[in-house]
Structures are given as structure tokens and as C-alpha cells.
């Protein structure tokens, strides 16, 4: 019985059905037995058609790069998936445990990381807040869980440090840890490396790539450095109000770059 490391972390256990039991609804090499589907998604805002006919199929363990010019609707797609903007169409997650469909639990690493730096909030406090645990419940038990998730992003030594003192790269990783608390079905990263240097960007991509393998997560990441993204992503989707390209990252890359150059 293979234990999902995350569910063991959160105190739950379940078995992975295995690749040959016939209960998988979507299965590609290197992917888990669960997936997130967007079916005929359409978003109209203020009389403008922002997104049209979006059909996506994102598998567990798959890192999908979502690229496109400014104003293409990438962030709007994320907001629609989060339920912040109204949309037509369907968003569903198919669980690998029972094969049933439900709305996915979504973790978001936002683009804007600005916040009140004078707030006396530590990394532990933030993780406790996003986990929904009351401030007045025992901190010790949660501390152990928080320590485990911070270990994933390499920030255990900063568990009691005020987040106002974190560097840009550390904040990125902390926000990633917050998005993974509790473990979501789908992880969305909205230009997570804006404002970070090249080395920091590569480190972050490595981290995201290893996390999606470690926890069998479906990951969609918005970015603008297509060439670097393509090195880490399994798949690349070029969006400009509609899906114009969708395929293996390295195969889509040349056409995507050509399309981006056309926009300039």
C-alpha cells in the first residue's frame, strides 16, 4: 500500500489504487491517477469576452506552464477557477481514491506578495492562519505539522521569524508552503518569480518541480520566461483569450515564442 506522503503528513492514510486496476479516468506516463478538468469554460466581464472555449485536462504530478501575452486572460482563468469571477462551463476534479468528481481544493501562490510588514506574524502564525486552526488551540501539535511543511520548502529555520523580515525569495517559498497547507488538489502559481533574480527563479522552479513529483500534485504555473519554464514543465499552454497551443513543453516552445514575438 503506497501512502500518499501528504496525507500521512496531515494525519490521514489512504491507498493508491495502482495503475492496473482500471479505475483511472485519465492516465499518462509520470502522472498520478487523478486529474482536474476545465470544460467549455467561458468568462465575460464588463461586456468583454475574456476567455472562450477553454478546455483543459491537467493530471496529477503534471506541471503545466500557462503562457501568453499580457491581457490574455491567464490571471482571469485562475480567478475563475477560484470562483472569484463568474464563469460558464465546468471545473471538476476526479479523485484517484474513489474516482468521484468534485470541485478541486485549490492552493494559490499569488503574484502580488505585498503585505503589511509591520504585522508581528511569524511563518508559524501564517501557516496556522491558512490551516484554519484557532489561535487559541495548542500550538505545539500544529508546530510539528508546520515544521514538516516548512521542511519541504527549506524554511524550517525561519519558523519563528516574523515574515516582514523575509527576503523576496524566502517569501515566495513561504507563500508556496501556505498554498500547500492543507494539501490542495490543484496548485496554481501566478507569476511567482516576478521580482526575483535569475538564480532565485531557477531554485524556485526546481522546488515546484520536486514538490509536484513528491506529492503527485496538479500544478499550473503562469510565467513569462518561456524557455526556462519549458525546461521544468511537462506541458505548455499558450493562451490568448483562447487556447492557441497545448502540448509537450519542448515541442510547443518554438511556436509559443513565435506567437509572443508577434505580439511585440
Amino acid at each position: 500500500m503506497r501512502l500518499n506522503k501528504v496525507d500521512k503528513f496531515m494525519g490521514q492514510e489512504h491507498s493508491w489504487p495502482g495503475k492496473t486496476d482500471g479505475h483511472h479516468f485519465c492516465f499518462t506516463p509520470n502522472s498520478g491517477g487523478c486529474c482536474t478538468k476545465l470544460l467549455d469554460l467561458r468568462v465575460c466581464l464588463g461586456g468583454n469576452l475574456i476567455l472562450d472555449n477553454i478546455n483543459l485536462h491537467v493530471h496529477c504530478g503534471e506541471l503545466t506552464a500557462l503562457v501568453g501575452p499580457n491581457g490574455a486572460g491567464k490571471s482571469t482563468l485562475f480567478r475563475a477557477m477560484l470562483g472569484e469571477v463568474p464563469y460558464q462551463g465546468k471545473l471538476q476534479f476526479i479523485s484517484e481514491v474513489d474516482g468521484k468528481e468534485h470541485r478541486p481544493k485549490i492552493g494559490l501562490v499569488p503574484q502580488q506578495m505585498s503585505f503589511d510588514k509591520t504585522l508581528p506574524m511569524t511563518a508559524l502564525d501564517l501557516l496556522q492562519a491558512v490551516s484554519g486552526q484557532s489561535l487559541f488551540r495548542s500550538a505545539q501539535k500544529f508546530r510539528e505539522k508546520a515544521y514538516e511543511i516548512l521542511a519541504v520548502v527549506g524554511l524550517t529555520h525561519m519558523i519563528d521569524q516574523k515574515i516582514g523580515t523575509f527576503s523576496g525569495g524566502q517569501l515566495q517559498r513561504l507563500f508556496l508552503a501556505a498554498a500547500l497547507t492543507p494539501m490542495p488538489d490543484l496548485l496554481l502559481l501566478d507569476e511567482p518569480v516576478s521580482g526575483v533574480d535569475y538564480a532565485g527563479m531557477l531554485q524556485f522552479y526546481e522546488l515546484v518541480s520536486s514538490i509536484r513529483q513528491q506529492f503527485d500534485l496538479s500544478v499550473i504555473m503562469i510565467g513569462h520566461d518561456l524557455a526556462t519554464l519549458a525546461k521544468y514543465a511537462d506541458r505548455m499552454i499558450f493562451l490568448n483569450h483562447r487556447v492557441l497551443l497545448d502540448g509537450h513543453a519542448q515541442e510547443v516552445l518554438p511556436q509559443a515564442m513565435a506567437l509572443m514575438e508577434k505580439q511585440v
Partner: protein, 285 residues
């Protein structure tokens, strides 16, 4: 209340023997605690100007009570909630920056209050609302504050959600929190607490009791738990001490407490600066 009276009158101070002071002391324990805890959320959500506006809108609230001549508490609470919802809605329309919206509401409600109360040249008899009078508090007023305290204690279970909304709205929305609803609810609660406290703390000083304890706690706290606890402790202790000082100075209690809190904040900032300077490594030439 008899048990409270006998407890306080056992203290070896002149002020402890007076019933009005005993009641004022009990009132300040509740008011200072409520405002200090709420103040942490006010500062987190950057609602300091809003709470100042609500305090000043107490003039209009008082004017309505005088006009209607009945249900003072009901009128005050209803007015406070409506004002909070109005400001939240106006901010959401984004036709002006948020602080301008609050400024407009402040100006209007103050003007409305002054117009209604100054009719016939009678404003001077309402000037006590500017400074407040905690020693006018009665047993039923204390009961209302006690109820508010219990409501606040129960509401603290939502503190983490409020915190997330204040910290990062996008992150909070991604967690399924209705940001506008949570913010408007907080504004309504703050408006009610401030409006109810105005008769005793005064329009001019009530906001200080919200902001100062949270500000001092921010300087000293290492994490959220200590931030909340320190804000409450500082609010309570400066509230009691300020009340005693106001007795000896024969000055308004609310303003005395605010001055004391300002002094404590200054000392906290100074102390922290000295402490940090002592910890910094020496510069090498």
C-alpha cells in the same frame, strides 16, 4: 455589584471608596478590553481612519437619540451599523480613494450632528460627548458592555479568518473567504463598539483606546499570540491607570488614558531602539 464594591473599597485609596469610581472602574475594564482587542484588527485592516470617523459620527448618533427621545442604545447601534455598511459600499464603488470616502462620511456626520444639536443655540449642553464621562456609567451600561465582551470572546474564533483577509486578500479569497463580507462585518462590529463607548470615552479620545494598545503591542510582540495578549494587557492596564490619573488630575478619563498610552508607546519605541542598538555588531573600519 455589591461584591465588586466591597472588593474595590478594600483598597487603601480615597478613590476606591466612591461608588461612582467603582462603577467607572468596572466599566473601563470592559471598554478598554473590548477596544484593545478590536484595535488589533483595526490596525491589521488599516481601518484607523474609519474608526476615527465612526467616533466622530457619534455626534450625529447622539443627535438622533436626542431627536427621537427614546431607545438610545438601539438608535446608536443601528446608526453605527448603517454607517459601516454605507462606507464599505462606497469604498467598493471605487469612485474615490478609500480614505477620501471615509473623510467625506466623517465630515458629513459631524456636520449633521452639529446642525441637529446646535439648533436653538443649545450645543454647549452636548459638549460633554466630546470628552465623555465614564463616571456617569450605570449598572445597566456595564451589563451591555459585559454582553459585548462575551460576543467578542465568541467572535475571537474568527480571528484567524479576519487576519487572513487583512494579511492578503487574494490568498484569503483563494481559501473561499468572502473578503467584502468579512471586512464589512468587522467594520460594523468596530462601529458598534466605538459608538457605544463614545458617551464614556468621548468622541475625541475613543479612537486612541482602539489604536494605541495595538500599536504598542506591535512594537513589543514576537508573534500573533503575544500581539493579541499584549494589546489586551496594555489596553486594560493603561485604561485602569489612566482612570486613576484622571481622578487625581480632575481631567477627562478618555483623554487621560490616551495621553498615558501615547507616553507608553513613546517609551516602548525608545526602549526597542536602545535594545536593538545594543544588539547590533560594532562597525569595523
Amino acid at each position: 455589584m455589591a461584591w465588586w464594591s466591597s472588593l474595590i473599597s478594600a483598597l487603601p485609596f480615597a478613590w476606591a471608596q466612591y461608588e461612582f469610581f467603582q462603577e467607572g472602574l468596572l466599566g473601563i475594564i470592559f471598554i478598554a478590553s473590548i477596544l484593545a482587542v478590536l484595535g488589533t484588527l483595526v490596525v491589521n485592516h488599516q481601518l484607523s481612519f474609519f474608526s476615527e470617523a465612526v467616533g466622530h459620527a457619534g455626534l450625529a448618533s447622539m443627535a438622533l437619540v436626542v431627536l427621537l427621545g427614546r431607545w438610545p442604545l438601539g438608535v446608536m447601534i443601528s446608526f453605527a451599523i448603517l454607517l459601516a455598511i454605507l462606507i464599505a459600499w462606497l469604498k467598493r464603488q471605487r469612485f474615490l480613494p478609500a480614505d477620501s470616502v471615509v473623510g467625506l462620511c466623517l465630515s458629513f456626520t459631524v456636520a449633521l450632528g452639529v446642525v441637529l444639536l446646535s439648533r436653538g443655540g443649545s450645543f454647549s449642553k452636548y459638549s460633554a460627548y466630546l470628552t465623555g464621562d465614564i463616571f456617569n456609567i450605570t449598572g445597566s451600561d456595564i451589563f451591555v458592555m459585559a454582553i459585548l465582551s462575551v460576543v467578542l470572546l465568541i467572535g475571537l474564533r474568527f480571528y484567524q479568518r479576519m487576519l487572513l483577509v487583512a494579511f492578503h486578500q487574494e490568498m484569503a479569497a483563494a481559501r473561499g473567504l468572502k473578503v467584502f463580507l468579512w471586512e464589512t462585518s468587522l467594520m460594523a462590529v468596530v462601529a458598534v463598539a466605538v459608538t457605544v463607548a463614545v458617551p464614556w470615552m468621548g468622541i475625541l479620545a475613543v479612537n486612541a483606546l482602539l489604536i494605541f494598545p495595538a500599536a504598542i503591542a506591535r512594537v513589543l510582540a514576537k508573534n500573533l499570540r503575544s500581539y493579541l495578549f499584549l494589546a489586551w494587557l496594555i489596553g486594560l492596564s493603561t485604561g485602569i491607570l489612566g482612570l486613576i490619573i484622571s481622578y487625581y488630575l480632575d481631567a477627562a478619563a478618555g483623554a487621560s488614558i490616551a495621553c498615558l498610552q501615547a507616553a507608553v508607546l513613546f517609551l516602548a519605541l525608545l526602549g526597542k531602539a536602545i535594545y536593538l542598538r545594543g544588539r547590533r555588531p560594532l562597525r569595523t573600519l
